[in-house]
């Protein structure tokens, strides 16, 4: 089966006032209908990974290497009409701040309908019907009325639902969700997470769900991939990664998430802060913060070790175990 998404040795570099090596040799694939949680702290390259799939990075300032394929199509080779069809048609995206990602001067209905018209070539009236249908599907109360409201007239949760309706309106095969619930309250967040889970089943699309909250990743993902400094450090099924974390960074994150922390006891915090990425890494990026780091970690890139089935870890410590 052709994987829905396939990154092969992706490297992304930003030029400008200072160079940022945002993605450094990423290998990742996603099967159709699969829901992947992409986990990592701020600046680890999650958003850049997603944007690569839509070719949304600023063309002049970014340099890309490696290959990215969606459904077997090389995304890098797309342009013009094909690219526009790809964006929103094949792959669509939900953003962290729906308040910023929606055009403030168009109604929600217009914005959904516009996408539908563009991709499905239907009339305005038909597109509005689709929009109404989508708003109903994302369980927005009184959808007819909401069709005619502007984004700023909605609450955060409502806006995110509208954003999801927009993203799904053209039945994409792949949905990218960039921290869609970070800005929301816990009670609303869980509503959105469950909604996404449900819609994913209903539409059968593949989803990459970016978050820095392990709990959120667990709630939605079949598989979890942990990113650090522009590369994956560990990936596997949700259960494998949570119950049997192998990379020191993953372990640290779980500890920091107060998973099973005892009150009053010191937390096993990961010391320090992430690297600046000004140069391409030639060793384990985590070595500086790793309590188990050895000279070997600092001298070469870590190997990717298959623990079992899907469970992969990029850490020297695991070589011994295999």
């Amino acid at each position: 089966m052709v994987p829905l998404v396939e990154f092969e040795n992706l490297k992304v570099r930003f030029k400008g006032e200072r160079t940022v090596h945002a993605i450094n040799g990423l290998n990742l694939s996603l099967q159709p209908g699969e829901m992947l949680g992409l986990l990592g702290e701020s600046g680890s390259g999650k958003s850049v990974t997603l944007k690569t799939l839509l070719r949304l990075l600023p063309p002049k300032r970014s340099e890309l290497e490696g290959s990215v394929r969606v459904n077997g199509t090389d995304v890098m080779s797309l342009s013009g009409k094909a690219l526009a069809r790809h964006r929103g048609g094949e792959v669509s995206m939900i953003f962290q701040e729906p308040a910023l990602a929606l055009d403030p001067v168009y109604t929600v209905g217009e914005q959904i309908a516009e996408t539908v018209m563009r991709h499905k070539g239907v009339s305005r009236v038909a597109a509005m019907d689709v929009a109404l249908d989508m708003l109903t599907r994302v369980r927005i109360p009184s959808p007819e009325r909401r069709l005619k409201t502007y984004p700023h007239e909605m609450s955060g949760g409502m806006r995110q639902r509208a954003m999801i309706a927009l993203a799904l309106s053209c039945r994409p095969k792949l949905l990218l969700a960039d921290e869609p619930t970070t800005a929301l309250d816990a009670t609303v967040q869980i509503q959105i997470l469950l909604l996404l889970r449900e819609l994913q089943k209903e539409f059968g699309m593949g989803v990459i769900f970016v978050t820095h909250d392990i709990g959120v990743a667990v709630e939605v993902s079949d598989r979890i991939a942990v990113m650090y400094a522009g590369n994956l450090v560990e990936s596997g099924t949700a259960a494998e990664v949570i119950k049997n974390p192998r990379h020191p960074y993953t372990k640290g994150l779980l500890a920091a998430n107060l998973h099973g922390a005892v009150k009053g006891q010191r937390l096993d915090a990961i010391p320090g802060s992430p690297p600046a990425l000004e140069t391409a890494p030639d060793a384990c990026s985590f070595a500086d913060r790793c309590p188990q780091a050895t000279n070997r970690c600092r001298s070469a890139l870590p190997p990717v070790v298959d623990i079992s089935g899907q469970h992969k870890v990029a850490c020297v410590l695991e070589t011994a175990n295999v």
Partner: protein
Amino acid sequence: MTVVADTAEVAEPVRKAPGYWAGVFKRFLNDPVAVTCTIVVLLLILAAIFAPYLGLNDPYKASMIKRLKPIGFPGFPLGTDEQGRDMLARLIYGGRLTLFVGLVPVVLAFFIGSTLGLVAGYVGGWINTIIMRTVDVFFAFPSVLLAIAISSALGAGIINSLVSLTIVFIPPIARVAESATASVRALDYIDAARATGGSALTIIRVHVIGNVLGPIFVYATSLTSVCMILAAGLSFLGIGVRPPEPEWGLMLNTLRTAIYINPWIAALPGVMIFITSLCLNLLSDGLRSAMNVKD
């Protein structure tokens, strides 16, 4: 102190961070256009200040025989005006008054307007209402109209021009200052400073001024060219600087009829106004981007 050792920062080279203004300065220096314009403006100001020491001809000495001589006439590098006075000397001396009347109102309005805006923005309440509603009333006049109205009411003369232009520029500056102050005041660090028990005056001095002065200053610099053109316009209308003082707007006026004899000479004061205001505008733009001020 050892208890927090595990959270201490990973070693980084010791360095002394450059201050904000140092950063602004560096960015400004990297902008060739802004630097060129600054040099031009500085040269003009220096020339104006040191005019008496530049070995120029007497800008007031007239000679009927040598009137309206072309550029390059022996002894008069830029020719002579309608009374045979040396254009070069008059343009340089003219820079004195023109720049004075063009810049001083903005400086005065900067101080007065910023103070009003700061007080209105920080204190709020009815003080804000009084100050800002008054400002609104003055805002109801297009600036040119207001300047002309006040100047014509007060009559010609340098002081009157200064007064009227200052009045014209106080309201816009006060507005910018007020909104900048109000937005800074809403930031948490002001609350944090208030929570430490600092008095309003201390907080304004330490925490507010430094953060609002930038945008106000940039805005004020953008007004200098407007002010200069306006000041020259008042003189041009005959309600600004009085003859025989050399002032570019006035020179433009008195040389108007000479356009038929020696258009280049007649154009010179206009060119000077244009160059100066162009440089002031570009300088202000440079400052704006160096200080990262959004419109």
